[in-house]
Each structure stands twice: as structure tokens, then as C-alpha cells.
């Protein structure tokens, strides 16, 4: 099943290059993947701990590297996120004027890379699949991008390469920190080994720092964030949806999957550093976001800012905060994908995303306005959306970290400041909504048509998932917590 999930987009991409109708093939592959994921949900055993649906092929006997796939509750939700956003991205892509085949093939390769990384339980392929998306992203931004696309394409590619090679070094060091008998590329075996013999504290420190920088560059942790706004502003909307919504989440997924369980002392040692950096994400980038004058840049910065909350959840190092972080990954991926999708549609129709030139679009694009409004509320974190449920878990989890009655720990202060981030995001999101959809409409734009009728399906899919997990977060939490509970109890 999991092998099908990974291979389906790749095979579809090859078929597209060979000559089948591009859009249709991509759409079929994306929907097939989505349905398979739903099927996995139905068959998933919620009670059992550990990875399910494991398939494994030995690749190197000397190194004991396996091409191994398997999922637990956390990776299942990541797969759901990846497949939903892929469906939406392909659906929103529409007709491409210039080499349509290559465009869809690139999109599918990004999707395959993300799915492969989320489904891998072998360190080598966990890393390798993420890199599969690098060249397609480079080409998507370079060929079909807007604005200063060449510079943006270089920036994201070089930055992410550097980040992922730092990550590679960190992963190799992590592997080597186990005693030779326990060494394995299999994440399951590593987790078992760590439960018996924790890694030495001194080693945890420098491995944690390397992994934090490596993953941090991929996630756009402050101050390694500067690639993200440029790239998302220039990328074509489907690429931005997939990258900001899914691929960037690989880094946080890696932190949750590897770093939190295996390097608790390292995390404790660097807690203050991480608290300061994540406040940089929330407060500093939040203020930068308010200053943006274009929607695409604003969304790019806002996606950087929201990573701060996820880091806050991870840093809180208790089951509540970490579950919240996992939930926010999911919720943010959906909401940012919807925002980028609508932004792309607006750009197609008006040719600009500058706030000063837009206005009153709700009159001609009521459905787009509605969808954007929903996504705005979700991004702010209004109750009823999955973002609210996850942020509240993060805040409660974070404030409990290092709690004592006598004084405020740095984490209580960080949580206070992070709460102000909600106000900041309210300011910029509502301002954006007002200046795009409210007010008087430019006369040239009265002929603009609303979103195509069939696009309501992906929009409904995204909003539906956001609302479902907003009202019933328990469905999410119940499946994800077993993955965390094992090692958080083990740590105590």
C-alpha cells in the first residue's frame, strides 16, 4: 500500500512525460493517492503501538540499508496532509501555457518526495526522499515563477542544499553515536535502542545542534528563514502550496520523529536558544509580515511566522505540546495551501497581488472571498478550526514546561509573548482580507469571473478537513499520541 503511495506519483510523472494527457493523469494519480490514504485510515489499528503496514526491501547488506516504509498515527496524518494538498495543488494548477507536461511532472515529483519521506522508516531513505523535491522546485520556480524568479530559485536551492547536507551530517553522527552493535538505519530499532541505552549527554548536545540547524533551515527557523518568502512569492501557486503546505513540514516531522525521542538532553541543553529563535519567528517575523505590501510576500512571511508555534510545541517537551505541534503541522499545511491557491487565482485574473492595487474583489469573486475568509480565520486560529485546537494545545503544553509556583520560567515568558503573535497575525490577515476583498472595486476589474465551478471541490476538501479537526480534534489526538506516549513515559 505504502509503496503504491510513493510510486503512484512517480509513475504518473513518467507517463506524463511520455505523452498521456498531463492534467488528467496528474489528477487521477493525486485522487488515487488520496483514496488510498483514506483506505489506510480505515484499516489503521488505533490501539496498536508502533509502525503498521511495513514493507521493506534490503538495499545494502553491508550497510543494512532498507527501502522500508511504515506508518504510525503521526505519519498517517502527514500522508493525509500530503495527499489532500496534492489533490488541491493539481486541481488548482489548471492549464499551463508553457510546457504543461513538465509542470505537472515536477508537481508530482514534489508530492512523491514528501510522501516518501513521511512514509520511510529508514534513515537513509527518509533523507533521500526529501531531496527528491529539490530539483522540481528549482525548475518550477525558475521556469514558471513570477517576479524575481531566478534569484529566488537559486536562493531556495542553495539554502536548502546546505541545510540538508548539515542535516545529513547530523543524521550520520546520530547513527554513529549508537554502539556498533545497536547501529541501524531502521528508525524502529533506533528507538528501541535509545530506550535501553540513551545517547551520552555530551554527544546529544552537538548532534541536537546540528539537527536543529539542518532541520531548522528546511523549516525556515529564524534566522535561517530568508529563503522562504522570496521563494513562495515567486513560485507558481501549486508549487507554493505543495512546498509551504507539505514539504516544509518534513523538517518538523523529522524533529518530532527523531530529535524529540532520541535527544531529550540535547533539547534540554539548547532550550533557551530555541526559545529565543522561535520568538524571533513569531514576534520579529510577525512584525515583518505586517509591513508587507503584497499578498504573496505576506503569505510567505506568515508561513515562516507560524513555524514558530510549531517550534514552541516541540520545545515544550511534554505530550500535550508535542501533540499540539503535530496538529498544527497538519492544520497549517491545509490553511496555507488554501491561501496560496486563492492568491494564485487572484494573480491569474488581475496580474498583481499588491494591496494598493486590489480591492472590492468580493463583488466579482464571492466564492473566492468566502474561501479566503475561511482560510484567514483558520490561519488566525479562530475557534472551530483545526488551527485553534492545535494552538491551544501548544500554549497549554508550553506554559507547563518548567512550571514552578515561585517564579516565571523562560517558557512562561515565551508563551506570553507567543500569544501576542496571535494578535499580530490577526492584524495582518484581516488587513489583507479588507484590502483585497472589501472596498471599492477598480473599474477595469468588473469583468473578472469567480473561481471555476469545479474548483469548489478541492476548496471544500481543504476547509472541510480544517473544520472537522477543529470540532473533533480528539480524532486526531487519539491516533497521534500513542506515537509520543511511548517515549515520553520512557523519558520519565
Amino acid at each position: 500500500m505504502l509503496l503504491f503511495l510513493v510510486l503512484c506519483p512517480i509513475v504518473a510523472a513518467i507517463l506524463i512525460v511520455l505523452g498521456t494527457p498531463a492534467r488528467l493523469t496528474a489528477l487521477i494519480a493525486a485522487i488515487a493517492n488520496f483514496l488510498v490514504t483514506l483506505f489506510l485510515f480505515a484499516r489503521f489499528d488505533q490501539v496498536a503501538a508502533g509502525f503498521q503496514f511495513v514493507t521493506s526491501f534490503l538495499v545494502s547488506a553491508d550497510w543494512q540499508i532498507h527501502l522500508a516504509f511504515g506508518i504510525d498515527g503521526l505519519s498517517l496524518f502527514m500522508l493525509l496532509l500530503a495527499t489532500i494538498v496534492t489533490v488541491a495543488a493539481v486541481w488548482f494548477a489548471g492549464k499551463i501555457d508553457n510546457s504543461e507536461r513538465a509542470f505537472y511532472a515536477c508537481l508530482l515529483f514534489i508530492s512523491a518526495g514528501a510522501i516518501g519521506a513521511f512514509a520511510s522508516i529508514d534513515l537513509f531513505f527518509f533523507y533521500a526522499f526529501h531531496e527528491l523535491a529539490l530539483i522540481p522546485t528549482f525548475l518550477l520556480i525558475g521556469i514558471w515563477g513570477t517576479g524575481n524568479r531566478t534569484a529566488a530559485a537559486w536562493k531556495i536551492t542553495i539554502y536548502l542544499t546546505l541545510g540538508s547536507f548539515v542535516l545529513l551530517i547530523g543524521l550520520i553522527l546520530l547513527y554513529q553515536s549508537f554502539s556498533p552493535l545497536e547501529r541501524s538505519f531502521d528508525i524502529r530499532e533506533l528507538q528501541e535502542a535509545v530506550a535501553v541505552h540513551p545517547i551520552a549527554a555530551a554527544e546529544q548536545r552537538h548532534i541536537y545542534l546540528l539537527l536543529l540547524i539542518g532541520f531548522g533551515i528546511l523549516i525556515s527557523l529564524f534566522p535561517f528563514h530568508s529563503w522562504a518568502p522570496d521563494a513562495y512569492a515567486s513560485a507558481p501557486a501549486p508549487a507554493a502550496m505543495l512546498h509551504a503546505g507539505v514539504l516544509k513540514k518534513f523538517g518538523v516531522y523529522g524533529l518530532l520523529r527523531l530529535v524529540t525521542p532520541m535527544l531529550p538532553q540535547g533539547a534540554h541543553y539548547w532550550m533557551y536558544l530555541l526559545a529565543i529563535l522561535l520568538l524571533g519567528n513569531i514576534i520579529y517575523i510577525g512584525l515583518v509580515t505586517i509591513a508587507q505590501k503584497q499578498l504573496d510576500w505576506m503569505l510567505g512571511y506568515s508561513s515562516v511566522m507560524h513555524m514558530g508555534y510549531i517550534f514552541l510545541g516541540i520545545a515544550s517537551a511534554n505530550i500535550l505540546g508535542v501533540t499540539g505541534a503535530a496538529a498544527l503541522i497538519f492544520a497549517h499545511g491545509l490553511s496555507i495551501a488554501l491561501l496560496f491557491a486563492i492568491a494564485g487565482q487572484i494573480r491569474n485574473r488581475t496580474g498583481t497581488l499588491a494591496f494598493s492595487e486590489l480591492g472590492g474583489l468580493a463583488k466579482v469573486m464571492p466564492f473566492a472571498g468566502l474561501a479566503f475568509g475561511f482560510a484567514t480565520f483558520a490561519a488566525i486560529g479562530l475557534p472551530g478550526f483545526a488551527n485553534f485546537a492545535s494552538e491551544i494545545m501548544i500554549f497549554f503544553g508550553a506554559i507547563r514546561n518548567g512550571w514552578s509556583m515561585e517564579r516565571f520560567h523562560i517558557f512562561q515568558i515565551a508563551t506570553m509573548l507567543a500569544l501576542w503573535g496571535v494578535v499580530i497575525s490577526t492584524v495582518y490577515m484581516l488587513r489583507a482580507y479588507r484590502s483585497i476583498f472589501m472596498g471599492a472595486i477598480n473599474e477595469r476589474r468588473t469583468k473578472i469571473v469567480d473561481l471555476a465551478y469545479d474548483l469548489r471541490i478541492p476548496v471544500a476538501l481543504l476547509i472541510g478537513a480544517l473544520i472537522w479537526f477543529g470540532f473533533f480534534p480528539q480524532t486526531f489526538v487519539r491516533m497521534v499520541t500513542p506515537a509520543f506516549r511511548t517515549y515520553f513515559t520512557a523519558a520519565k
Binding site: 531531496e131 542553495i158 551530517i169
Partner: protein, 471 residues
Amino acid sequence: MSAPYLEAAVLVLGLAILMFETFADRLDKKIFAYACIIGLAVILVASFFIQRQAGSQPQTGLWRFYISDQLSIFFKQFSLITTILVLVMMIDYAPAIRKIDERASRNIADFFSLPLLTCAGLMYLVSAIDFIFIFVALELVTISFFVLVSFPRRNPIALEAGVKYLILGALSTAFLVYGITWIFGVTGETNLQRITAAFAGGRIDNQAATFGAVLVLVGLGFKIAAVPFQIWVPDVYQGAPTPVTAFLSVGSKAAGFVVLLRVLRPFLMLPNMQRLIVIIALLTLIYGNLAALPQNNLKRLLGYSSIAHGGYLLIGVACFDGQAVTFYLVAYLLMTLLSFAVLIIVAQQTGEQISDFDGLAKRSPFLSFAMLIAMVSLAGLPFTAGFVGKFLIFFVALDKQQTPLVVVGIITVACGFYYYLKVVRAMYWQPGPSNQAVSISLLSRTMMILLISAIFVFGVYPQPILDALKR
């Protein structure tokens, strides 16, 4: 059958074709190239049935300077495959020689048969365990390369390349011989195993031995183009006929590294030797990658990139890990030859500048895809052989705690992505001057498909290469 027959067969084949060519004026000269390819393919098949030398075998006669262990047989096959692929490229390149030097193209059959002599030299070299034999084999390689590099000699650029290569090659040989003399003076031996024993015995003059070892390293440094002995590379690579450049950058480099691994076994017993290699590796990485950044000529870019890859290989050498070095060399063979093969075909239509690749994706999707794979593999993207090579290299470097090498390696990898992706950018998103399709012969197309598949297969399933060294 034992191993030395392989070299003998290659030599006989080369000489036979040279002689036969003299008396066959009327034949289409390409026939000789096909004959060479078929002959080498037969020898390649035969090489899989070679008896390996048992470890306990007494060292008498030939076996005092010749070894047929797993490493050497593997690299004999490596040389044969390289030569076959280079010959395929030479067939594609023949019209270009006619363009730049009409008279040389009349002797084009020499151009096809000389690589056989080089190949025999490379095969001897990887088996050599005696300094005298190393020297003789190396000269066989180098001298045949002198001729190949300046084959279109009425063309001033090729001539310049030939002269530069000749002078610096001679200089490096002088260093090598002088170093060998010193080591002989210290130990009274030329056989590597006995030199090892003598060094280990400790009753030698360490300073004199170190001096000799450093001189040998200088000589080998020229062959593998390690900094600071790389000055000849860009000009020679750019001026030589492109298939010869490919041959130089793969065949002669691989043989150089095998020799380096062999001579390091005794040398690493000397003080400071590992530190010296680490420093050379650092310089090579930094220089190769930085100098490649501003290049606009693809052939020159590949020249600098071959220096850069020499740097990664030297990381493996500094950690003395034969497995990582071997795998990296295999990956390097695949991706470098693939990029040169594409370059030869595209250069005949437009040129060798990177800007000549503009819009190639429209003109020939197949060629641009092949080049894309070669470039991302050179850059080190997962699922290609190039990544597994880099992974193994970084793994052993971290295992041996060579932190400076790792740090510099990471930064230079990021540099590498820039200059390799420049080519990708030209092919895919720069508008091209014309939409004229590029024609590819069936043979080259087959070769490229094989290379591409090998890059992917070894990128996901590296085990066969690791096994080949163990049997």
C-alpha cells in the same frame, strides 16, 4: 586463466589494429573503432572468469611486482569499461576532428587504437605493487596520452594542450622517480610490501623516507590533479579532444587513486603523512569548487569539477577507506562520462559554452534529461550514484573524526550545486536560439541509457559494487 593475460590481450589487440590499419586504406575507419569496442568487450567478459591470486601464494617471478587481488581485477574491469565508452564517444567525435585538423583525420584509426594502449597501461597500473612497475605502467599511460591530447596537432589549442601536458607530465615523472630513488636508498627495496615491512621495522632514516614519500606524492598529485599540482588541468582539459578529456578525467584519475591507496599503506607509517593528505584534500576541495563557480565553458567547468571530485576522493584516501573511494570512483565514472557524451553531441551542433545549452530541453528532451541526471549526480542528489558516493565519503570522514574535512566538504557541496545547476538552468529555462533537433546515433543513445540506468540503480542499490570488492 590468470590476470596478466588480460593486459596481454589488450596490447595484442591494439598492436594488431594499428598494423592492420596501415594496410587497409580503403576501409571506412570507423570499422576499427567497432573492432576495438568488440575486442574490449570480449576481454571484459573474460575478466569475470579470472582466477584470483591466493593470499598465501609465494611471491616469485612475475608475482613479485604484479598482484591480482579483488581491487585490481575490479579496476581492470573499470578501465575496460571506461575505454569502451570513450571509444563510443570517439566515433561521435570523429567529424569534429575532421573540422579542426583535416590531415590528422586521415589517421583517425590511430586515434581509435591508442586508447587500447592507454587501457593496457591502466590495467597494469592497478595491479602494480612494485615501484619500478608502477613507474613503467604509468609511463605507458602518460605517453599514449601525450599523443592523444595533441592528436589534432595542427590545431593550435590542441597543440598547446599537448605541450603543457607533456612538460608538466615529464616534470611529475621526474618527481616520482626521484622519490622512488630516495625510498630505495632508505630501504633498499622497491616492492611495496617489503617497503612496508622495512618502515614498520623502524631501523630506517625517517626524515629521508618522508622526503622520498613526499616526492612520490607530488608525482602522483600531478596525475590525480590534486592542488597545488592542478595547474595543467583546465588548459589541457579544454584543449584536448573531448573524448580524450573524458578519458583523462576518469581513467587516469582512477588509476592514480588506486596507486595512491597502494603506496599509502607503507607511507602512512611515516609521521605526519596523514596530516599532509588532509591538507592536500582541503586545498583541492576549496580550489576545485571555487574555481568552477565562474566558468562559462562547460568543458573547462568539467575540468574544475574533476579537481573538486578529486578532493572528495582524497577525503576517502585520508581516512584510508578503499570501499568509499572505490564506490565514489565508480559513480564518478558514470556521471562524468555521461556528461562528456552529451557535451560531444551538443558541441558539434552549437558549442562548448554553457550558453550553447540554452533551450536544449526543447531541441532534444533526451539529451537534456541525460545531462540533467549527470549534473544532479555530480552535485550529489539522492537516488543517484553520486549521492551514495558522497554519503560513504562523509560517513567515513565522520567516523575518523576528520571535522575540518567534513565542514569544508559541506560548504563545497553547496558550491557544487550552484555550478552544476547552472547547466540545468541553461537547458530548461533559458530560451534557445533555435528549435533544430539534435540527432543521436543509436550506439550513443544506448550508451547513455545504460549510463543513466546505472546511475539510478547504484543510487538506490549500491550493494553490487560493495560486493565486487569482497569476493
